[in-house]
Point group: D2
Amino acid sequence: MIKRYSNPAIAKIWDDEYTLLLWQATELSAIKARENMGEVTDDVYDEIETVLMTTEIDLEWWRKRDKEIHHDLNAFIDERVRHLESTLHQYFHRKMTSYDTQEPAFATKLIKSLEIIGDLYDTVEAALVALARKYRYTIMNARTHGQEAELQTFGARCLTWLAELRESATVLHQENRGLMFSKLSGAVGKYGSIDPDLEKMALQILGFKPFYGATQIMPRILYLPIAHGVSGVVQVLNKIALDIRLNARSGRPLMREPFSKKQKGSSAMPHKKNPIRCEQIEGMDRMARNFTHMIEENVRTWEERAIEQSSVERVAWPSLFHVTARSLSEMALVLQGLQVYPDNMLLEVYESRGTYGSSEVKEFLKDRMMPLGFSYEDAYRVVQLACFNVFELPSEWLEVRNLVAKDFRHASASLTYVSTLEMPPIDSIQTFIPHGQLRLTDELDISGQDVARYNACLVEIFSKGEVETWQAWIDCFNPAVLLKNEAVLYWEILGE
Amino acid sequence: MIKRYSNPAIAKIWDDEYTLLLWQATELSAIKARENMGEVTDDVYDEIETVLMTTEIDLEWWRKRDKEIHHDLNAFIDERVRHLESTLHQYFHRKMTSYDTQEPAFATKLIKSLEIIGDLYDTVEAALVALARKYRYTIMNARTHGQEAELQTFGARCLTWLAELRESATVLHQENRGLMFSKLSGAVGKYGSIDPDLEKMALQILGFKPFYGATQIMPRILYLPIAHGVSGVVQVLNKIALDIRLNARSGRPLMREPFSKKQKGSSAMPHKKNPIRCEQIEGMDRMARNFTHMIEENVRTWEERAIEQSSVERVAWPSLFHVTARSLSEMALVLQGLQVYPDNMLLEVYESRGTYGSSEVKEFLKDRMMPLGFSYEDAYRVVQLACFNVFELPSEWLEVRNLVAKDFRHASASLTYVSTLEMPPIDSIQTFIPHGQLRLTDELDISGQDVARYNACLVEIFSKGEVETWQAWIDCFNPAVLLKNEAVLYWEILGE
Amino acid sequence: MIKRYSNPAIAKIWDDEYTLLLWQATELSAIKARENMGEVTDDVYDEIETVLMTTEIDLEWWRKRDKEIHHDLNAFIDERVRHLESTLHQYFHRKMTSYDTQEPAFATKLIKSLEIIGDLYDTVEAALVALARKYRYTIMNARTHGQEAELQTFGARCLTWLAELRESATVLHQENRGLMFSKLSGAVGKYGSIDPDLEKMALQILGFKPFYGATQIMPRILYLPIAHGVSGVVQVLNKIALDIRLNARSGRPLMREPFSKKQKGSSAMPHKKNPIRCEQIEGMDRMARNFTHMIEENVRTWEERAIEQSSVERVAWPSLFHVTARSLSEMALVLQGLQVYPDNMLLEVYESRGTYGSSEVKEFLKDRMMPLGFSYEDAYRVVQLACFNVFELPSEWLEVRNLVAKDFRHASASLTYVSTLEMPPIDSIQTFIPHGQLRLTDELDISGQDVARYNACLVEIFSKGEVETWQAWIDCFNPAVLLKNEAVLYWEILGE
Amino acid sequence: MIKRYSNPAIAKIWDDEYTLLLWQATELSAIKARENMGEVTDDVYDEIETVLMTTEIDLEWWRKRDKEIHHDLNAFIDERVRHLESTLHQYFHRKMTSYDTQEPAFATKLIKSLEIIGDLYDTVEAALVALARKYRYTIMNARTHGQEAELQTFGARCLTWLAELRESATVLHQENRGLMFSKLSGAVGKYGSIDPDLEKMALQILGFKPFYGATQIMPRILYLPIAHGVSGVVQVLNKIALDIRLNARSGRPLMREPFSKKQKGSSAMPHKKNPIRCEQIEGMDRMARNFTHMIEENVRTWEERAIEQSSVERVAWPSLFHVTARSLSEMALVLQGLQVYPDNMLLEVYESRGTYGSSEVKEFLKDRMMPLGFSYEDAYRVVQLACFNVFELPSEWLEVRNLVAKDFRHASASLTYVSTLEMPPIDSIQTFIPHGQLRLTDELDISGQDVARYNACLVEIFSKGEVETWQAWIDCFNPAVLLKNEAVLYWEILGE
């Protein structure tokens, strides 16, 4: 991963130095296991361990040797063994194949990387929880298809983000089956020169159980769920980032990612505050999925193994972790510093003209129109018509809507004209429907006769409306009523 | 492809019936070529052709035979040959291998599919051209990062859509190298039993040239650019669809895809008008790219061929064309019926407070501040500060912004309160800057001293401003000036 | 999925008829839940259920209506409700949004599809177990990098296939978290009109628990592990298929997929027996992964949902199950009828000249050469040299190897010449090394002096070799010794 | 890209230093263009150029500044401008947006990278041409489905590799449309502050033409064909690598990638020579395709641009070029040092028992059996039966084939037994068929009666066979006849 997006802790896990230390750990565990099994005397392990732990691995020497013999693990053995007395050479990498050494090291790197990802994840989760709590009663329009839908609180939206993110993160919090196992079963996985008990004991020292059925390597299917899981976290982060970007669109932004005091939005346009962190997470998502797809293809190998997967794993695994770490740390910054604008949320609700209650209103009318001989379909159409009616423009604005500028002078004039117009009044279906003044519209296929019947019906419902009717009507638009059940989300998700 | 998204014309090209007719065409072309080369007498071709053209292929018979012998091409030969006199059998499929018959048929199917796609594409292009012309002077804010940027016309945006779409569509309008060639060179492509001249002649009848270097099949790399090209069209359509969706967000939509009179937006919420066609194109894009990725993998085959690519091609190619056709026909409907709201475009420009001119203003100030001892960086900061200042809220609104509702009663009250507040006045940097009343803001790292220096400077510039200064200043915000160069786009892209 | 690769049982689950029945089941469960909660009287549910269960859904009517209103779920409600008395209309789909109805139906389709896949999987697993048992003592060369490696039994290889396949199949045998939950929480998932208890009760009837934190739809991240899991099964099947293909290469095939008595391998070449089923599984793998990638992208949606995922899911999910079912049923046929050739396996071992023991030999020599002043590296080099030596050609064959034909006459003559040559004798390192007659080779960087030292050493080891030496030596090549530990695999994997 | 797979020349093109130099080049070209247009006086450009060209860019300073303002291009401007006299500041980056500076730089990096790839490609192509020439008459079995098919020369196979590789490489040798254009049209691509003539002139200096219809950035669809093209090269290289790996399988390898004198194949098994370079190319292919898929997704951006594509491009483009360069350089080494074994190729042909002529034989028999009242289907069946017959084992070998070892002692004994058996005689259909001694087989559904009829017919054909019959018969197996048409491939592909 290029430095710009590289996470230092991840980088350390995947660099040569740590890799070689992990290889050494496997080798030592095998010698220790032999000691435990009585195959070698006690001093052998101690002598070897003492030398190796006190003699740093010479990376340059190793790299040079690798270039010569085209075999990195053999080069490592050569580097290590040269520090040992010759009588000890035989105990090192005894009867093992390269991947006996490398597989536990590889699994350890995955485990360590997941730990780092897990820590970063916790910060994001904590930030989401804080937002959910803070904005528990901050109302806003929910949106489906980008269109204003029913009401919700911003806190509850944070809970949906949180719930989805948690689902994506099981890989970080469960014991991953693929990381419980490793192998030390020789060149083709059939224990040709190796006692299965040696494998069991050496792996135990390293924290693993034997996988029975390995070939020269562990079957790569075991690691796929890790990659899929980690990539899934990035995908959900990107879903959250996308929502923030949608809500940060200028004009009437509902929220914004933080913008630092010295930050510049654009070299050309000094007024810009761009959601660049959230946008970057979209880029990270594109990468995370495709790094995972590289890893997926590693399941396909020849017989007891071929080495196609090696280069892919050297590149794709650390890269996947880097982009995941980056996504998490960027998202943490965004959420911790998120600027939320309740004024604009309220304005948006207000200007949506009561349509947030359209579903409730439909049920309200169904219950009252059907006894009067109307169908449930009629109730639907009444609400639809009312909602369309309250968005109809006054004539001076309608004129502007239908105007197509003929040249730039015309365009400039229109711009000036618009700045002088009074904003259209905001009518709400809450007040509109009880008046029974539905109007024909060419947007819907409803006849004048039907409109008349609907209006008569509405007048009847509301004119003879007793207190209960009106109470029920008002409740259709009352946040406290509409959102009372959000409490269950807080209870189930946050336990509060 | 499931029926819902299937294009009938594409379906016909890829169904069994047409496929077998194309196989027959290859077989006949080979016999005709033999006749031309003097290998068989004239009557042979005529007799065979007469019988085959007048005897319909019995698909059921063929399918049953295929099941028995596990070889669709051999089953086809059996079906055809049984109608011929036995003396003619030998001339049919003589010395050919299955893919000698199938490859020209396959290429023909690609060609025919591209024609259908090409026709649909033309409708979309025409709709875009019409929009670009109609809205040539309809101004709107361009947006980068979702943030209002400089001014543009909606017509010019349509031109950028058009220019990108055209780039994606070269595959539809050029002679595709991969479709100029085919093969009839025998079982391993080495002409073991086949005269290269026979190949040349037979392919010529079918409209192809020989590809020298085929194996049993054509190298699949030849067809990749077709898949990539077609998929690219969908990707650009999706970019356009995404822009429309972004602009159709309710509140103050700038445009909307058409909504039919009987359409229902939602089973729950009667007020909804959802951009479902544009959203579907996003789905099509997800499919188009991944169908293409299936096809990509077909390059990897064994030696003189293995048959992994066959199943993939049976599924992925027609599917790719179906989703492309669907995307084009949906987009044609969207663009032809696009509802455009110039009133909201103007309102958005107006409410963006002159920031659309921030880039011009920065240059204006640079030219005038630098002679007064300021740096270009100072000019940048003045504009940035002014832009931030004009968006500052009056105190009653600021209070709402900083309010975090404590319960739903509080939230309801805020909603009511907001509906009673007067909207904040719309100040523009056009009037703000010349007054030299920049204010400190905690959003930027600018000192009070600097603000004072900047204000003094602005006063100097504008107070002693001669007519030229003011003319230049006004031009910074004049659409006719700012957008005059859009004419070059119309000229270069539409030739008008 | 095209008919050729379609599984009828999968097709049935995803067709319109079954889908609508599942939607009906959700609607009924909601009414039943209302009855349980005392919201509606007992007779309401019974009346509705009786009518709906006895009146078939008219698919044509529904399709026509969908075309008109562009909303499949609303069209379904219209179809169903028209059969009910008008007083009952209000109870149907009451306060629900489309995806309240569709989500449990969708999850049920996934569950049913997994059951079918699970059954097919069991057949494959059984076939693998049978092979592993039958060939428990049938020895063959293991291969890494396509090169002959150590010995193994074919039975043990089957166990590695089995172990990997089982790992891929956890999705089929565990309770999948994503399928335990569903939702009935209204248009934006905030229970605007719906009692959380109603959701709990209705879902319980359908076999689900509520997912707290849904939006209008379930978060798509929940279903990703299903797609990844199923696709993983295909990937492992393809790994097995690839191994079979590699082993079926003609010349000296070790195994072959079954070839039916009427089957034709090629229209041109009657002698062909092609592994077309295994090759097709490679095609299925290409599709399975990419269908899954389509599904992956569905995590990215807008706010409380947009509908991009819908078209993708209609296509990709059933397609994924179809290609998985196809892969399993083809693999079952292949494994059940697998033709295994122990003669060729033995021949291959024999002709590999004892190199299968090279690892043991290396350890044997290490133990004996190091006391004589040699390094472990020397032991490695001795084995390497010996292995290269025993593959050296006799002069008449070497001549052929170095011959580059100058024209086709020359080539023909060589072919005839080769047919007259006696095959080179098969020497083994088992007999070669003890003789201490290592030879210089230009393939390795070993000096003549070293070769001499090595030979002297070997002579010393073996000449003064006591019985134990020779016994240890013979054991290096003894299958019973080398493969004794395979028993642990049988025990751990099959429990026998 | 990690260092192991990094190409230094590619790395240089994409590092910060070169990037900033290219940005500087754009800035200078814009100033020069202004000079040409008379907007600035001559000395301005000269002064600026002199300073910038003689003052190295301080990368550390720049990185620090970038971190502060979160804007790399602005930080670059700051770094450069600080070296200029303040009166010159205004001319730098005047009226431009960041991507006006970056786009030509980006396109230049693609062009330079393609040049390096092109050079590496030429080496591979040259190596393939050399192989094709050298082995023009070296015969081998072609293989389809991994099964021996008709004859070919190894030279001709190299030609098919070459032909496919050339098709993949058009991106390297044509003028790529996407690289002919760039942009300098301001913040939203509408020339708000920029004269289109300035764009034209500045781009001309840099070697580009204006793309009319850009937004803030170039439409990303323009660069997709580059990524697809480059990735296609890797895919074809991998197809070649796969063929080499298949042919390098030990036992009877037909060719091998070079193995250096100090190389070690395995830490466990000293005898191994693994095709690790070819295997690595498979890994590179997995990466190349998926890096390209990352790039594909960049077409989807918001309106006049958002910045999701930036991070992806920083990573994916150089990575794609690195893996391509690596694949080419590895393949060059493989092909230049390819060890080819004509002896094994001949042996394989010989042991395939004349089946390479089965297609010719089928035609031979068709022509002669049909006049005797047999069908073309009969001819097919005769050849199929003969081919199956000649592979039937003598009884002692059949016994081994049917033997399933019961324990390891049994297995060992079989191994010894096989080593003592004489190899089965190699019969060829060339001598077998004329004898008319076809035998029943349970592999085919042919009755004893039919076998008898076939034998009688064969006897008739060959017994009364005149010289022409026998001549025609022999030609069915004569390489010179069968492969004479390969000459056309040499002519068409190599012009010789």
